[in-house]
């Protein structure tokens, strides 16, 4: 059952990624793509495929993957189906860090400034939200996340208020909508190491998360170091989602939706859902990014906006569903 599921997911993700390479301003048919790749001379198609669409598609896969993975890990860790990096304030923390890096000239000093600051911001907010919500369940978690996000959002506004750039407010608003347009190999090089490192940390939590389904006491008794597990989840999420937010802006709900779609397929085991959730996240972001290029409503439809349009109603459904289930 499981190898078949993984294989099916991988095939779908590869198909989505390939079609993502063919869609855009310049029409490219599969035959043209193959010819262009085989051609000795660089041409318009290779340029578009290699320098524009491939980095964009790779980022969509990486970012979707880390969002789905961190959502699955956080849900398993907090034993709460509503947990998600965005809800814990990761995105707002990362945005705060990135805004400071971008608008106070740090990015011109080193291009690593945005991801590193994003990461630190994510670490601080996630840590605070998780510490606040350790005891108290769903409501405490949502409240703590909302409070921490609000503080980070206030920080973003303060930073913009004093930004030397008069257009900062407009830019950051559109940036926070999330987009992968025009992301190049530079962005891949910047974000990929952090995302991969974060992903590795998150994948290490699998066994522990399975045992944690029985509660902290039983997990500890089964040899799971719950404190270490929490740190892995915290640093993994901050590293991966922090870097993802720093290059693509805030993309919400993927971390919430992806694990939920996959959970029934793996018998609800929190550790088993990690890899499928990562693949589902990659699929969602790749498909959504593809859709933003197919839907022409004038200005670019932002990736984050499109995903939120689908994700927010799902979140609402989930809140009602969870409320009904737990008294």
């Amino acid at each position: 059952m499981k190898p078949a599921l993984l294989l099916a997911l991988v095939v779908v993700v590869v198909l989505a990624a390939s079609s993502s390479l063919l869609v855009g301003e310049v029409g490219v048919s599969p035959a043209q793509a193959v010819r262009a790749v085989l051609a000795a001379q660089p041409n318009l198609t290779t340029l578009v495929l290699w320098d524009i669409r491939l980095p964009r598609t790779l980022l969509a896969l990486l970012i979707g993957g880390i969002l789905g993975l961190s959502g699955a890990v956080l849900q398993g860790l907090l034993r709460n189906p509503l947990a998600e990096p965005g809800l814990l304030g990761v995105s707002s923390g990362a945005s705060f860090g990135a805004v400071i890096a971008i608008y106070y000239g740090l990015t011109s000093a080193t291009s690593l400034a945005a991801p590193v600051f994003g990461l630190v911001g994510a670490l601080v907010t996630t840590g605070a939200a998780m510490a606040l919500a350790r005891r108290g369940g769903t409501l405490a978690l949502i409240l703590a996340g909302a409070a921490v996000s609000a503080i980070a959002a206030a920080g973003v506004e303060l930073a913009l208020n004093f930004s030397p750039n008069p257009y900062a407010a407009y830019e950051i608003t559109t940036w926070l909508m999330g987009s992968l347009a025009d992301r190049s190999w530079d962005h891949v090089k910047l974000a990929a190491p952090f995302i991969v490192a974060g992903g590795v940390l998150l994948l290490l939590t699998g066994r522990g998360l399975d045992a944690l389904a029985l509660g902290e006491a039983q997990a500890e008794s089964l040899g799971v170091d719950v404190r270490r597990l929490r740190l892995l989840a915290l640093f993994g999420t901050a590293l991966g989602v922090g870097a993802a937010t720093a290059v693509a802006g805030a993309i919400g709900f993927v971390g919430l939706v992806a694990p939920h779609l996959m959970r029934p397929l793996v018998g609800h085991r929190p550790g088993q859902v990690l890899i499928p959730a990562a693949l589902a996240g990659a699929l969602i972001v790749t498909m959504a990014d593809l859709a933003t290029r197919l839907i022409h409503l004038g200005p670019e439809l932002k990736l984050g906006v499109l995903i939120s349009l689908i994700g927010a109603p799902f979140f609402l459904w989930l809140v009602i569903h969870v409320q009904r289930r737990s008294p």
Partner: protein
């Protein structure tokens, strides 16, 4: 000295001493009932004994070896612990919940090795769970959940089994069944301890008793020698009478 031994163990929580210089022995092949009123420190005693809570003072040994010298994994293989009202937070199947008991034997990644699957099979069978193996653990009745959790605890065949309130919330039949299974486990040569309020079950199945009140051990030793009317009176601040009849011994409180 085999089995579990506590010598002068003290535990403080938020500045308050919840366990004071507790000394007790949990010999192998016996079921020890940890009894006492609410808030006496029974759960604390079990958590310390399981190595989940660091004592403030005192020493614990398992088979003569200090407990803290066991590695996390090694200890997890030798002792199992079930907290009060254990439950699964996700709708995982019974079979997989039981398999979680083998966590300390698992490689970091990959599937459960085949020989371990056989152990799961054995545990399912011996706990009458074969028919329920695909049911979701979140949808079980109290008795079914209790059996599932017990199977989860013993699937790795640990030397030491510590169970906090195994009969809480169960109807008489299922409570009896749970206590009976723990007794069987002890008869098979393992060290078993349970915190329990139901003195009737304790009297029927336990070999040893540890009586706790306000964090202090009032008495510890073989049940038949230690458990008497004065002890019960001191424990619960109520006159009590032990009634012996052809069906066994029972307790009647005269408060």
């Amino acid at each position: 000295m085999s089995g579990l031994r506590l010598v002068g163990v003290s535990v403080k929580r938020e500045g308050r001493t919840v366990l004071t210089e507790a000394s007790a022995a949990f010999p192998p092949g016996s079921l020890t009932a940890v009894i006492g009123p609410n808030g006496a420190g029974k759960s604390t005693l079990l958590a310390v004994a399981a190595g989940l809570l660091k004592p403030h003072a005192g020493a614990l040994t398992l088979d003569g070896r200090p407990l803290e010298t066991f590695g996390r994994q090694a200890l997890a293989r030798r002792r199992a612990y079930l907290p009060q009202s254990p439950r699964a937070d996700w709708p995982i199947s019974v079979e997989r919940v039981v398999a979680l008991g083998l966590t300390p034997y698992l490689p970091a990644f990959g599937r459960l090795p085949d020989e371990l699957e056989t152990q799961v099979e054995t545990a399912l069978r011996s706990h009458d769970l074969l028919a329920l193996r695909h049911r979701r653990a979140t949808e079980l009745s109290g008795g079914e959940l209790s059996r599932t959790m017990l199977a989860r605890a013993v699937v790795g065949d640990p030397d030491l089994l510590l169970v906090d309130e195994p009969t809480a919330g169960l109807d008489p039949r299922h409570a009896l069944d749970a206590a009976h299974r723990l007794g069987q486990r002890a008869q098979a040569g393992r060290t078993v301890a349970m915190a329990i309020h139901d003195l009737h079950l304790a009297l029927r199945f336990a070999d040893q008793v540890v009586a706790l009140k306000d964090g202090c051990i009032l008495a510890a030793g073989p049940l038949r020698e230690v458990l008497d009317e004065p002890l019960l009176r001191r424990l619960y601040d109520m006159p009590a009478r032990l009634i012996r009849d052809p069906d066994g011994v029972s307790v009647r409180f005269l408060g």
